[in-house]
Subunit: 100 residues, 2 copies
Amino acid sequence: MNYSTQYIAQQLKKSRENMGLSQRELSARAGVPQSHISKIESGNVDLRLSSLVAIARALELELALIPRKYVSAVNSIVGSAGSETSGQPPRPAYNLDGEE
Amino acid sequence: MNYSTQYIAQQLKKSRENMGLSQRELSARAGVPQSHISKIESGNVDLRLSSLVAIARALELELALIPRKYVSAVNSIVGSAGSETSGQPPRPAYNLDGEE
DNA sequence: TTAATTGATATGTCATAACGCATCAAAATG
DNA sequence: CATTTTGATGCGTTATGACATATCAATTAA
């Protein structure tokens, strides 16, 4: 599994955790078995686009193809946040980020 | 095939065309058979992440997961451009867009 | 301590992506 | 016109994603 794909997997995991969801909860929302989510997050599965999109949507994420030259600009917008859109419990919140 | 995936397929096709590449040329760059690229662009294949990334890279595109709330901001940056990064021939250029 | 939750793994089945290779009609090029 | 290029299809094979289901160790309540 190459870099980009590994990275995507990491992002999914981080987003899920930031939303305070368990793999089983995400499983229910995305319609993808928990066992599969586990494999995906651990990065040893070359998942299909449909699965990626299903999981992303459940995490309030959109998949996008960004022209290389705009990547840094996009990053500066999205910033380090990993979508804390709607936590279930209020959740700590002190993102004194060392992460991401 | 759902909306998002269809849309991704369209983006890949547009980007390829904007770069003035034939499916066979892209095939060579991305290491994906032309026959498969054709299927992908026509949107009737649920391609794997590795394939998507390989093709995207060959088109100078990066795959990204954008938090919903930043999507419009990102769109306003990326704009309607489909990566005209480096055309082989100068190529028309008059994007008096009705497209995209 | 006991009971629930969580993430990771295993097995077996099925669907299908991905491959190589070949072909073909239409469009572009000479 | 003849030739080349292009995108789309088809076929047989192989690899593997995705599924259901179950289990298990470790963590986190109760």
